[in-house]
């Protein structure tokens, strides 16, 4: 049962309420379906809607995206063009108008494609509590279980032109959870891959940083044969689940195909 919904006007008030046990509410697209359908222990929510956590600003080379920025705002912000196809692959417009960047980091797989892209882009997150803030890689944030505090922002540096790749395979073109999501930044020099950072969604309980795929790409020519070998290497680090969208068998079977399509565009 929801016993209180706080709508504070500033971040310190949010943090003290969260520290006291209130659950943060971003867009409500994860929490509210549950509360609409379940009896729950007495619960207080603290809405981020008015706390000043929405918006985008530049800090050095990075764009800093407030945690309460909606996915729709990201989608339509020309400064965040690199993330537009990522966001458009998530849910539907009436959901993206509510869902927030901070909240999407914690959407359970096979949802939460933004986190996959942010891991590939080496984004960092700001985690705050009443005692202060810490910066940590989004990769670390989404790899572990719940942490105390509140994500207040995500910082991401735009990738070099042409280096970022993103593909989400789903049952429908729009508004469907991931079967396999691939996000990667790949750089080449002298005919070989000199940098690779690959993240996967839909193929594990959490976002997968695909170290074996990266190792199979580095130092080799960026060809079909290399990517095929990388796909085989990646099979060792994925652990898909059966769900309503696809079986684990199917996801495993098509993973190398979607990796190739994501990386090579064919």
């Amino acid at each position: 049962m929801l016993t209180e919904i706080h709508v504070p006007d500033d971040v310190p008030a949010v943090l003290s309420l969260v520290a006291a046990g209130a659950r943060p509410l971003g867009g409500g697209t994860v929490l509210m379906p549950w509360f609409n359908d379940h009896a729950s222990p007495p619960t207080e929510l603290v809405s981020l809607r008015r706390a000043g956590l929405a918006g985008v600003h530049r800090a050095g080379p990075a764009w800093v995206i407030g945690a309460a920025t909606t996915l729709s705002q990201v989608e339509h912000d020309p400064r965040l063009e690199v993330l537009s196809p990522v966001v458009r692959s998530i849910a539907s417009m009436p959901v993206r108008s509510l869902a927030t960047v901070g909240g999407n980091l914690f959407a359970r797989q096979p949802h939460g494609d933004l986190a996959v892209a942010l891991v590939a882009l080496a984004a960092t997150a700001t985690l705050a509590d009443p005692g202060g803030t810490v910066e940590l890689p989004v990769e670390d944030l989404v790899a572990g279980g719940p942490r105390p505090g509140l994500v207040t922002a995500v910082a991401v540096e735009p990738p070099a032109p042409g280096t970022f790749r993103y593909l989400k395979a789903a049952r429908r073109r729009h508004n469907s959870a991931s079967l396999v999501t691939v996000a990667a930044t790949v750089t080449e020099s002298g005919g070989v891959v000199t940098g690779a950072r690959v993240a996967l969604g839909g193929v594990g309980a959490r976002v997968v940083r695909a170290h074996a795929v990266e190792a199979a790409l580095l130092g080799r020519p960026f060809t079909d044969a290399t990517v095929r070998a990388a796909g085989q290497a990646g099979l060792s680090e994925i652990a898909p689940a059966d769900d309503a969208y696809a079986s684990a068998w199917y996801r495993t079977r098509v993973f190398p195909v979607h990796l190739r399509r994501a990386l090579l565009g064919r």
Partner: protein, 162 residues
């Protein structure tokens, strides 16, 4: 548990009521303000039958605690017609037989309104994307897409589809 005095502006009129913490925007519209156009389908944000515009953006109102949007501007399907005169989108739905059982229609129309406000000349693919969060279990998608394209033409002054 405390109910809070909440004020929202609905279809241009200010409405004030007491909202309990679990009251969603959808329930406030339907049960406290008597606006039953938006429908409660799944209460999961998946079917889109509760779609309304919140400060101009389409949202699934079943996922919005109304206490969090105190002071917001809401547009619902009830605000589109001018007395007996239907809006261009409503008329296009009627003319194109894009309403079958009618349950999804208010949400479809509000998603269409949001699309046309942003993009007056959408492609078929853009219309399909815009209504991808609205489920029609009569599966009447083709006439719905056609009706939205027809409404766009009417709004651009190009006349109705024949």
């Amino acid at each position: 548990m405390s109910a809070k005095i909440t004020t929202i502006r609905v279809n241009g009129a200010e409405r004030t009521f007491l909202a309990r913490p679990e009251t969603t925007l959808l329930l406030a519209l339907r049960e406290q303000l008597g606006l039953t156009g938006a429908k409660r389908g799944c209460a999961q944000g998946a079917c889109g039958s509760c779609t309304v515009l919140l400060d101009g953006a389409p949202v699934v109102s079943c996922l919005v605690p109304v206490a969090t949007v105190d002071g917001a501007e809401i547009a619902t399907v009830e605000g589109l017609a001018d007395g007996p005169r239907l809006s261009d989108v409503q008329q296009a739905f009627l003319d194109g037989f894009a309403t079958q059982c009618g349950f999804c229609t208010p949400g479809m129309i509000m998603s269409a309104e949001a699309l046309l406000a942003r993009n007056p000349d959408p492609t078929t693919a853009e219309v399909a994307e815009a209504i991808s969060g609205n489920v029609c279990r009569c599966t009447g998608y083709q006439p719905i897409v056609s009706a939205i394209l027809d409404a766009a033409r009417r709004r651009r002054g190009e006349g109705a589809r024949r």
